[in-house]
Symmetry: C2
Subunit: 153 residues, 2 copies
DNA sequence: ATCATGTCATTGACATGTCAGCCATAGGAG
DNA sequence: CTCCTATGGCTGACATGTCAATGACATGAT
């Protein structure tokens, strides 16, 4: 009987909904605030952060994609938009004629400098300050457990 | 001294990154699986679920938006796409000439019926089964704390 | 009735994301 | 060297999401 043992209970489902809706709302708030305070999207920020930390503030396109965990086509589209806004430049790669190097521009560096503190402050206010130290620890452990349980691809 | 007490520590930031990256990855896996198993997006599913539970399997557009927590313009765009796929219909509202009613179609009802079990199974496998009962409880409390701390708008 | 104001839903412009396919080049097998 | 396959990056088509503006209608004050 009960061929449904593989389905969540009502309580489990309520927890799931609360969890997923809240994490989406949190992401939305942080995105809106980053946009408002700095004019950057989360994608912009991730790209600029990776470039800022790279030697010579430049990276091969596919290395950048790996660093920030994006598919290459997504990165291509995003870099095209960022290049239009002069946040980055694309240059040919000397050692691989197929490749492209993504270079942080002065505009991009300045935008990232100006964005860092407001963005970190928002993370503090909306995430860290909302939780007790125990909850913060638990959040890290929950994330690790979820990640470990995800299929490889 | 230390004018940075309002910024997260290195550990807090690591927890944040782990948390946000994992929740996004989890959402991505569930989306891909829902799409693969049922041909529906999470947005489709949310709309069909709300309509399925509504009296007469129909709702005013703005009630639907409130129920699933979407902006109306987002809903309008999404309903246009769903109407093209015959998952829903839009009818004029008898009691308010400005309004529109969204009606579940037979195609939409059948798609939702076929999607429910696979989707719930995926939630079970990717979320519930990844956590201990204590972690699941903690996840609900963390979500509640985060939500309570979000600005109202 | 008229008017001012607010609400309902849609639309257009654009940013973001996925997917499949393309093309040039790299790199190894023969 | 020539071919074969794999890789790097780009592109087009489309789904999804936000924002501001619009038009039609409702509603209350006068």
């Amino acid at each position: 009987m009960a061929g449904q043992r593989n389905l969540p209970t009502r309580d489990e489902l309520r927890t799931w909904r609360e969890f997923v809706e809240t994490t989406e709302a949190l992401r939305g708030h942080l995105t809106a605030r980053l946009q408002r305070d700095t004019g950057l999207s989360p994608g912009d920020y991730a790209v600029l952060l990776a470039l800022s930390e790279a030697p010579g503030t430049r990276l091969r396109s596919s290395e950048l994609a790996t660093l920030i965990g994006w598919e290459r086509s997504r990165l291509s589209h995003h870099l095209a938009r960022m290049e239009r806004r002069q946040l980055i430049r694309r240059e040919e790669c000397a050692t691989d004629n197929r490749g492209a190097e993504v270079v942080l521009s002065e505009t991009g560096a300045e935008a990232f400098r100006a964005a860092t503190v407001p963005h970190l402050r928002a993370i503090r206010e909306l995430f860290v300050d909302a939780l007790t130290p125990e909850q913060l620890t638990a959040a890290g452990e929950i994330a690790a457990a979820l990640r470990a349980h995800l299929p490889d691809r």
